[in-house]
């Protein structure tokens, strides 16, 4: 599904050059649930942004579903984001002027889906996150946990095969965080590939595969097949 080879990312500002990622290698197979941890400033968000085509990378090769992302133009990347990727943000990023229904509908409109089909999908996704009764509410009328559930509904509405989440529970208390995690696990069981950045070790442990990013490089821990969390299976870089 996701295949990164020797990806590097350099941020050039007037004063300094920041190597946010260096010689970054990662393969994520279809249907995996990967938790990404690492110290602050290590490059987790940078990795996620590149995986989601929100930012260009400086070097290396990135293939998503066999498509070489480096060769795509801006419109093609936007379309690919729209079709294959669902985003869940730490700050929820709901559009404040739109009600819940309209928020969930946004990616469907960009895909040019007909109104009747949009309605079906929006209602189905709001149902899934347990907010069907509040379709007409505005985001500011909801709690943080509810807002994040709407954001998940929005990410799911386009039926993406690949979900990217940057600290989706970072702004939530532990109860809400667990609910969101359960929702993600359910979505994963239904077939979606998930990559989730988190600071919460307990949530990370619930994911079948953990990777750690330190100083722009990846360290891979794989928890299934009875291995312990502390045994590195493969070290990148």
């Amino acid at each position: 599904m996701l295949d990164m080879k020797a990806i590097s990312k350099v941020y050039q500002t007037e004063m300094v050059q920041t190597h946010a990622l260096r010689d970054f290698n990662l393969h994520v197979a279809e249907g995996e649930f990967v938790a990404v941890t690492g110290p602050s400033g290590s490059g987790k968000t940078t990795f996620l942004n590149i995986a989601g085509m929100l930012e260009p990378f400086s070097g290396g090769q990135y293939c998503l579903d066999g498509v070489d992302i480096g060769k795509l133009n801006d419109n093609a990347r936007a379309d690919l984001r729209n079709q294959k990727i669902g985003f869940i943000f730490q700050g929820f990023n709901l559009i404040p002027d739109l009600n819940l229904y309209e928020n969930v509908e946004v990616p469907l409109r960009y895909r040019g889906i007909k109104s009747a089909e949009r309605k079906r999908r929006v209602e189905e996704c709001l149902e899934l996150v347990g907010l069907a009764g509040r379709a007409k509410h505005l985001p500011q009328q909801l709690s943080g946990g509810q807002q994040q559930r709407v954001a998940i509904a929005r990410a799911l509405a386009g039926r993406p095969r690949f979900l990217l989440a940057d600290e989706p529970t970072g702004n939530l208390d532990s109860l809400m965080a667990r609910q969101v995690m359960e929702l993600l696990e359910q979505i994963n069981r239904e077939g979606a590939t998930i990559v989730m950045v988190t600071h919460d070790p307990e949530l990370a442990r619930r994911a079948p595969r953990n990777i750690q990013i330190v100083d722009g490089r990846v360290t891979d821990f794989t928890l299934y097949q009875g291995r312990s969390a502390e045994t590195p299976l493969a070290a990148g870089g």
Binding site: T45, L48, N49, G52, M53, L54, E55, D74, N75, A78, D79, R81, N82, Q83, F87, F89, Q90, G91, N93, I95, P96, D97, L98, N99, E102, E105, V106, P107, R109, Y110, R111, G112, L138, R154, G158, D166
Partner: protein, 401 residues
């Protein structure tokens, strides 16, 4: 694809900026379309042919102090010396000066007073058989005055019996194309129309009867006498410089004043209109610039306020073009509401102006054209901020909190 419904809903939820812009557009449309209509009307008037070669004609006044002077003899002497002057085509003493805003007006009727009959307002000028030639106009029907037509008003009660009128006056009195040889009444006096001039404005060209003019072959002398002179096209300035000396040479005890070209007379008469046009144009420019800045400012503000949402939309799969379209559609929606309101306001304002001042009815194509141009301007003003919005990086979605 145009996201109309959510755009409208979003607008309804944060109205203030939109409402201000709607008001601004409405006011601009109402004022600008009326101002353009008034300017157009004034321009039509200013460019309208008066019938006279204004740049070749000038006037002056002679004010006599000599109680023993034979005024009639002096006028004839003056006219003769003017006509003999190098560069002069013709000259005549007149009762008043066309295009100047002052003179005599009255009504011409189909029947003698006190009988009731159709009455048409007009301005009239009296002079001798040189009058038409001095004014540089020709009859298109009938004939010019002859010496025998001219009557001197003195103790005897001699009255003129013929008249030359402008086409507008004869048409109004007798019907389209008619009037030559007909008799009209000036008070109780009958006058036969011996000639008709197609275009010949009177002393008040912007009045409602500005084209209705009568020329009457009659001399009434006084101590204050006005003269008109027509010169060769290039000779006017030089002739005008000689006038005072020439007049004083034949008789010293008088004052020569207001030696002024007919074009300058008209310019003075029109000065208020020109000033009003300039003010209206300034008003239009100011309003349009302020509105453009308003659209530009609101879009810029909206975009900086919505940076994160734009990044999120991009992350969710919006192409750059979709972001541009969003802002353009939003702007077009606001604009349409403003322009519809403004169109209605323009009609109302036009009616009020028509009642209060003598402005012509506002024709709808001025509103439509102005609205179209405002829409275009508004779209151009939103385009730059919208293009900037489209270039907001989708990574804003994860980078800003």
């Amino acid at each position: 694809m145009f996201e109309l419904k959510p755009t409208i809903n979003a607008l309804m939820r944060s109205k203030l900026g939109a409402v201000l812009l709607i008001l601004q557009l409405a006011i601009t449309l109402a004022i600008v379309s009326n101002a353009v209509s008034i300017i157009q009307d004034r321009l039509t008037y200013l460019n309208k042919d008066t019938g006279y070669p204004e740049a070749e004609i000038f006037k002056f006044n002679a004010l006599n102090f000599d109680k023993n002077l034979d005024l009639l003899q002096q006028v004839e002497l003056d006219e003769q010396s003017l006509r003999d002057l190098n560069g002069v085509i013709d000259a005549t003493a007149v009762s008043s000066v066309v295009l100047s805003g002052s003179g005599s007006s009255g009504g011409m009727q189909l029947k003698p007073e006190p009988q009731e009959s159709k009455r048409v307002n007009m301005g009239y000028v009296t002079g001798d058989e040189h009058l038409l030639n001095t004014l540089g106009v020709k009859v298109s029907e009938g004939r010019d005055f002859t010496e025998a037509d001219v009557v001197v008003i003195d103790e005897s009660d001699a009255r003129p019996s013929v008249i030359i009128v402008s086409r507008a006056l004869s048409d109004e009195l007798f019907g389209q194309g008619k009037g030559l040889g007909e008799t009209l009444y000036w008070g109780a006096d009958p006058l036969t129309i011996i000639g008709i001039v197609d275009t010949m404005a009177n002393q008040w060209p912007k009045s409602s009867f500005g084209t209705k003019t009568a020329m009457i072959p009659m001399i009434r002398v006084g101590n204050f006498q006005k003269f008109l002179v027509r010169t060769e096209p290039q000779a006017r300035a030089q002739v005008m410089r000689q006038i005072e000396e020439l007049m004083l040479a034949s008789h010293r005890e008088r004052v020569i004043s207001d030696v002024t070209g007919l074009d300058q007379k008209k310019a003075r008469y029109d000065a208020k209109d020109v000033l009003m046009m300039r003010m209206l144009m300034t008003l239009i420019v100011v309003l349009v610039v302020v509105t453009a800045l308003g659209v530009f400012g609101l879009s810029t503000f909206n975009i900086s306020k919505r940076t994160k949402q734009i990044g999120t939309r991009r992350a969710l799969g919006a192409r750059k073009s979709a972001i541009v379209r969003y802002f353009v559609v939003e702007n077009a929606l606001i604009c349409s509401v403003g322009l519809v309101l403004g169109g209605a306001a323009a009609v109302l304002l036009g009616q009020k102006l028509m009642n209060w001042y003598s402005v012509p009815a506002l024709s709808y194509h001025f509103i439509a054209t102005t609205a179209g141009l405002l829409l275009l301007m508004s779209l151009l003003s939103v385009l730059m901020p919208a293009l900037r919005a489209a270039n907001i990086s989708p990574s804003i979605a994860t980078r800003s909190v």
